[in-house]
């Protein structure tokens, strides 16, 4: 029975019935969205990953919570609407007729377009603000970062002052090492960091693409060979964290993990100077290349004379081993 065949007074009643039902639907939607927003903000937000261990993680946590609150009305609205129409407008058994031929409704379409555009613009503005304010939100910004943390770039790092701590993260197949240029360029397999200090990560690789991801730190930066990828964060709480590789780099990609700790500033300074002293005494510091933002392992200027003269080796073959290399058969 199409609408054209309903007698006039019934049609008006049906129309009023329709608009009452529509208002009830909208009211239910608003109430549920409000409830969802409150639940997300007060119950879920404090426990959302990546947590609040660092400044970048906190901002990401806030960002995800706001996104969730913005998305909840959309999801609830669509689900509610579908639930309603699937119940109310289903074909009763034995009913073979067609539905009401509605080809479009300009008001509905315009409302929808304006509404979705408004949400998208809001998300864009919010996302950009959240990207700029926390100094890039912990994402790797490449060699020329735009959004930086304030902090003095000093040759050596002192606790208590607002010095920026520089840490170089070197990814190689399949382990992470970390170099601290402010401590003589000493290298470590454990990432120890001081709390309440602006930290700059310089992420690079020696072979293929890796990605430095410590999710509790809220930092993710790809490690490319010969590229310096800079990311910023400031740790706010002490505690352990795990570094994982986030870009497929070969057989042990899944196992390429590393331990890390955020500790108090004095403990960190003690640790770093102790490692620096030990590596100096062992001769490791002298064996390492000078600290640089990227490394090309095919060129090793420090190679001893006997290597060059006797074995004819001019550098760790980063490329395919040349045919003249007598060492590798």
């Amino acid at each position: 029975m199409s609408s054209a065949e309903i007698p006039a007074p019934d049609r008006q009643q049906a129309a009023e019935h329709d608009s009452r039902r529509t208002w009830w639907l909208i009211a239910a939607w608003l109430a549920l969205s409000l409830a969802a927003g409150l639940v997300i903000w007060f119950v879920w937000y404090p426990h959302l990953p990546p947590g609040d261990m660092t400044s970048s993680a906190r901002h990401q946590q806030f960002d995800i919570a706001v996104l969730a609150i913005s998305a909840a009305p959309v999801i609830l609205g669509v689900f509610l609407y579908f639930g309603y129409v699937l119940v109310v407008f289903r074909a009763r058994p034995g009913d073979d007729s067609d539905g009401t031929p509605i080809f479009g409704n300009v008001k509905v379409q315009a409302t929808w377009i304006i509404g979705t555009s408004a949400i998208v613009l809001w998300l864009f503005v919010f996302g950009t603000v959240e990207l700029i304010v926390p100094a890039g939100a912990g994402a790797g910004e490449g060699a020329s970062p735009i959004w930086k943390l304030p902090g003095a770039k000093t040759a050596s790092w002192t606790p208590g002052a607002d010095d920026m701590l520089q840490v170089q993260v070197i990814g190689q197949q399949w382990a992470w090492t970390y170099r601290y240029p402010q401590f003589g360029g000493m290298e470590s397999t454990v990432l120890d960091l001081p709390v309440n200090t602006p930290i700059t990560f310089h992420v690079t690789s020696l072979d293929v693409i890796h990605s430095f991801w410590a999710y509790l730190l809220g930092v993710k930066a790809d490690a490319n060979p010969l590229v310096d990828n800079v990311a910023y964060t400031m740790a706010r709480q002490t505690g352990p964290f795990t570094v994982r590789c986030n870009e497929l780099c070969g057989i042990w990609h899944g196992a390429m993990t590393s331990a890390g700790n955020v500790m108090s500033q004095t403990t960190f300074k003690l640790w770093a100077t102790a490692v620096q002293a030990r590596e100096k005494a062992d001769g490791v510091l002298a064996a390492l290349p000078a600290y640089a933002l990227t490394y090309d392992p095919t060129v090793i200027p420090q190679l001893g004379k006997d290597l060059v003269n006797v074995a004819g080796i001019t550098g760790a073959p980063g490329y395919y081993y040349g045919p003249g290399n007598p060492v590798t058969p």
């Binding site: 020696l206 064996a287 090793i300 006997d306 073959p317 490329y319 060492v327």
Partner: protein
């Protein structure tokens, strides 16, 4: 289509599918279990793991790939595998024969010994006639950029064990390497013997180990081929309950 034709099509299709599944399953299971795990049992609270790394191997498909061999403790045979097991909470003494020639480390940091008892390794060099060259040297750093003496590395990252594996030095590496595999001290190649020890962890499980130096000749960065294949330059150390 007639019933018999339809039935025939169905049965043939089913057999094809089953055949593919069986083939694939067997391939995976077969290739994964082809590698034997060498079990080292404790005696007097100690375990002696013996490995060697060679500049080539005795396989037919990839004879130029460098590889590790593991020695079976009972038969003293060299098995082409990188899977071995040690008991938990035990002192593990490791001896590695380095038959492959020297190459500079990609990151010279790995020349530093970490995670072994005393944080040292002991190295002795031998020439191609199996005569020792000098007395054993105990060191905590082998600088492969200052002198040519590192062939590969042995690293168990989850336990913090990183050890550079010594190789014949520069003079000995040139045209003096063994040519029949697996090498032995009398194969006619120069080599180096390295020993170190560590305590196996109390938590049982599989701990991966790898080489951290470019050794896959012919592959970009030297990290392809054998470096990324179990049984060659990468493996598992299983820690089992005593």
């Amino acid at each position: 289509m007639s019933v018999t034709a339809r039935a025939a099509v169905l049965i043939v299709a089913f057999l094809c599918v089953v055949g593919v599944v069986v083939f694939v399953a067997l391939y995976y299971i077969g290739s994964a279990s082809q590698l034997p795990t060498v079990a080292y049992k404790a005696s007097d609270g100690q375990v002696h793991v013996v490995l060697q790394e060679d500049p080539g191997n005795n396989s037919t498909t990839t004879p130029s790939w460098v590889t590790y061999y593991t020695q079976d403790p009972t038969t003293k045979q060299w098995l082409h595998t990188t899977l071995f097991s040690v008991p938990a909470d035990t002192r593990v003494d490791v001896t590695i024969y380095g038959y492959d020639g020297c190459t500079p480390l990609r990151n010279n940091y790995w020349g530093q010994v970490q995670g072994t008892l005393g944080r040292v390794v002991t190295v002795r060099q031998f020439d191609k006639n199996n005569h020792p060259l000098g007395s054993p040297v105990t060191t905590s750093l082998i600088n492969s950029w200052a002198h040519c003496s590192v062939g590969h590395t042995f690293a168990i990252p989850d336990l913090g064990i990183y050890v550079p594996v010594a190789s014949p030095n520069a003079q000995n590496s040139v045209n003096n390497l063994c040519g029949t595999f697996p090498c032995t001290p009398t194969s006619g190649g120069a080599y180096a013997v390295e020993t170190f020890s560590f305590i196996s962890p109390s938590k049982t499980g599989s701990y991966r180990w790898q080489c951290l130096i470019p050794c896959g000749g012919g592959f970009l960065n030297g990290n392809g081929g054998p470096m990324q294949t179990l049984g060659w330059m990468a493996g598992f150390m299983d820690v089992v309950a005593t």
